[in-house]
């Protein structure tokens, strides 16, 4: 079964809906603390898209439905997109584009260090998520590079863990999903 031509454009719009919802909240005055809502919202969705991206391979192995691979790149690019908005919000509103303060934050605050590192590591992944770069790198090298996604996701989760004061229900759930997805890979690799 081949993906229907309308499928990818629909998925694209679907992936934009969280952002639309977040921005709509701003217009509807739904937030007590708007910047926190947008910052946490985009951070959460970056992690959700990373986990979705990582769930494609196990899902394909379980269902044997190879066409799933064709939406993985879209999901990965949306993970990058939400991360980018998340980083820009921090840069503009926490630091007013004031670079010195930004560097102090990155160096002194471990949770920002790992969050920023995760974002930096996403850059080569986003830049090589196109047909031209896959061809240029060759399938195997491209695949090796894109294993960085595991690291990015782990750092993203750590970035969240280090900000927890007491309520860890949400981050615990995300971490368990990540561990589960990695475990599925391990099982496959050792078979």
């Amino acid at each position: 079964m081949v993906l229907k031509p309308w499928f990818k454009p629909s998925l694209f719009i679907l992936c934009l809906l969280p952002l639309v919802w977040l921005v709509l909240g701003l217009i509807q005055d739904r937030y007590v603390e708007p910047l926190q809502a947008l910052s946490h919202g985009t951070g959460d969705w970056a992690l959700y898209f990373l986990l979705l991206t990582l769930s494609i391979t196990p899902l394909r192995q379980l269902t044997g439905y190879t066409q799933l691979l064709r939406i993985r790149r879209l999901l990965g690019l949306f993970a990058f997109f939400y991360s980018l908005v998340h980083v820009l919000l921090w840069l503009v509103f926490d630091h007013s584009l004031f670079w010195q303060g930004m560097w102090a934050d990155i160096i002194e605050r471990p949770y920002i260090t790992v969050g920023f590192l995760a974002f930096i590591l996403m850059l080569p992944l986003a830049l090589t998520s196109n047909r031209f770069m896959i061809k240029k790198l060759g399938g195997k090298r491209w695949q090796q590079l894109h294993r960085l996604t595991y690291v990015v996701c782990a750092l993203g989760l750590l970035h969240y863990w280090w900000q927890i004061k007491y309520d860890m229900s949400h981050i615990l759930l995300l971490t368990l999903i990540f561990v589960g997805l990695m475990a599925l890979r391990r099982i496959k690799l050792t078979k």
């Binding site: 007590v32 603390e33 708007p34 910047l35 926190q36 509103f93 926490d94 007013s96 102090a104 934050d105 002194e108 605050r109 471990p110 949770y111 280090w162 900000q163 004061k165 007491y166 309520d167 860890m168 229900s169």
Partner: protein, 312 residues
Amino acid sequence: MLIKKTAANAIVSSEITPESVYKARRDFLKYSIHAGMGLAALSQAPALWATTAAHAFSTDEAQTPYKKVTRYNNFVELGSGKAYPAKNAHRLKTSPWSVTIDGEIENPGTYDLEDILKPHTLEERIYRLRCVETWSMVIPWQGFALADLIKRFKPTSKAKYVAFETLHDPKQLPGQRSRFGSFDWPYVEGLRMDEAMHPLTLLATGLYGKDLPAQNGAPLRLVVPWKYGFKSIKSIVRISFTEQQPPTTWNKQSPEEYGFYANVNPTVSHPRWSQKRERRIGHFFKQDTLMFNGYAEQVASLYSDMDLHKWY
């Protein structure tokens, strides 16, 4: 000694009250008497004065809207997350309410809240509130100086600290049903005696001219504006005078992150995040955090011989 300290640090009233307002108040009193209200008006005057005049300690910064003050709360007992305390507020029954006052005092006992409040005149204080999580608000509280209550109950010479306790009732406070068992309920807080006696330290019963909503710590809470918000304990059922420094909840929870003193201090970072700046709730950009949350003039002398990096 304490009274002297107050006088030295107090802000001159003319700095706070514009002359026109001052004159209007005088006129009000004058006309009240002229109108033949006589003694009755005079006896009411202090109460009116308290609610209409800006207190010397009040800030004139833009106040955080009521809706935000009552919908963005840290009150773990009423639920985690900022929105849950307001949603669960109806569970907390704040009347009748009694408070036990005990420890190193002459007349310990358990008192109805009404009896505790009766002799005190409520006044409005518009204070900055700075949370350890780096957000802040400006809130018009109604309350009275904790010092006035302490004087009434006559602590003995052994009383060096004041300890406070929040209601412990998992039926009314669902957050106390230990899901993760991570907190040791009830929530407890404490102040050194000179901090408790400081005229800035308030026992609040209301905000924005209304009774405190449960999520803001009804019916009686502490407000210590130069310390991080978690020191300002909510829904108080016990005030004890102790010789030893009392345990405090967040310090027990994570001692290297939350100290007993917890004074707002931009130069001492939380181990995981900076305290240099803060976001006023509803604002987009951050602003600089002030030493002792902007109350340095009033309270810095309390800590003049202390290393605040050590005693965070």
